[in-house]
């Protein structure tokens, strides 16, 4: 009963916060859009949507599922071009990305996300990249240019939520991008939120979420993108098993 009440409270507060952000975005659109260059305006809108909205989710989630972080200190305060690769267990993973030092993240999404009613509209509005709509080379060039301009890229190479199951196979697109541009890949592991919320349910179950940033992994000389992808996945699987083992024991 307590969990249900906390959930009701969470969705009410987060909903109000979302509405306020939406109003600020609409107002800023009307006032600033005619005067600001579109790139500057887009960065501001992405900051409101991804950073502030994401942080508000985590803030209101705290009574139900506190989040502890590790490894964030090695990223520094100023974002440098890098690609974050995260495991994907739950819907809340997307909001946990706001813990990363960014002011204008790029989001890659697929046709499944573009069909979700509000989220689909949002990702199109922010001109994030639908990898199913564009040829690889086209979206790759666009992402590299945005990364060099100071954005960061967060992606879930499993492509779908794994929930309580094992980590899924990785798609290789983002590793090809990293190889092409020479950017390092920073693996990030999220544990504990398998049921916060579970797939197909809005209910946020109490949990202790851990957000762990691992050291950067760069492509080795002569290494194929496929092998690079498998190597990163191997490191993430190994570390995930260690973390979940620790959680079980604890």
């Amino acid at each position: 009963m307590k969990v249900v009440l906390l959930n009701v409270l969470f969705y009410l507060l987060w909903g109000c916060c979302g509405l306020c952000i939406f109003l600020v975005m609409t107002l800023s659109f009307l006032l600033a859009c005619p005067f600001l260059p579109s790139a500057v305006y887009l960065r501001w809108q992405r900051f409101l949507a991804a950073d502030i909205f994401g942080r508000s989710y985590l803030f209101f989630l705290r009574p139900i599922a506190p989040v502890s972080t590790s490894g964030l200190e090695r990223l520094g305060k100023n974002p440098v071009p890098r690609i974050y690769v995260l495991n994907h267990k739950s819907f809340s993973d997307t909001f946990l990305c706001s813990l990363l030092p960014t002011r204008s993240p790029i989001v890659l999404f697929n046709r499944t996300v573009s069909r979700i009613p509000i989220m689909g509209m949002g990702v199109r509005f922010f001109k994030w990249i639908n990898v199913d709509e564009l040829p690889f080379d086209d979206w790759c060039e666009s992402v590299i240019a945005q990364l060099r301009a100071g954005s960061i890229l967060c992606c879930f190479p499993e492509g779908t939520r794994s929930g309580k199951g094992p980590m899924g196979a990785f798609h290789s697109g983002v590793f090809r991008l990293a190889a092409k541009a020479g950017f390092p890949v920073t693996p990030v592991l999220i544990t504990g939120n398998e049921e916060t919320p579970a797939k197909g349910s809005p209910l946020l179950k109490p949990a202790h979420i851990r957000f762990s940033v691992l050291p950067d992994i760069a492509q080795e000389e002569g290494e194929t993108p496929f092998h690079f992808k498998e190597r990163v996945r191997g490191v993430m699987r190994e570390q995930l098993a260690k973390l979940e083992g620790t959680l079980d024991a604890g």
Partner: protein
Amino acid sequence: MPADDIVQKVNQVFCDTFELEPARLKPEAKLFDDLGLDSLDAVDLVASLKEECGVDLRQDPRVREIRTMGDVYRLVTEIVSSQK
């Protein structure tokens, strides 16, 4: 080309293109679930098979039915046989 040679050549393509260990290349191994390939890797595979084995799968509709290593061996064997 004998069937064993085709299997060996196809395995070599997988080892060179994806740096996979030969022990994983069994006929029942699923390309996507067991070996971790995806659609972009499949494009590389088709290019490598053309280069190394001389088989052009780009316009072949049967390529969509490939699921396992065994399917790759079978399709390459069929194409090589039809080229004779």
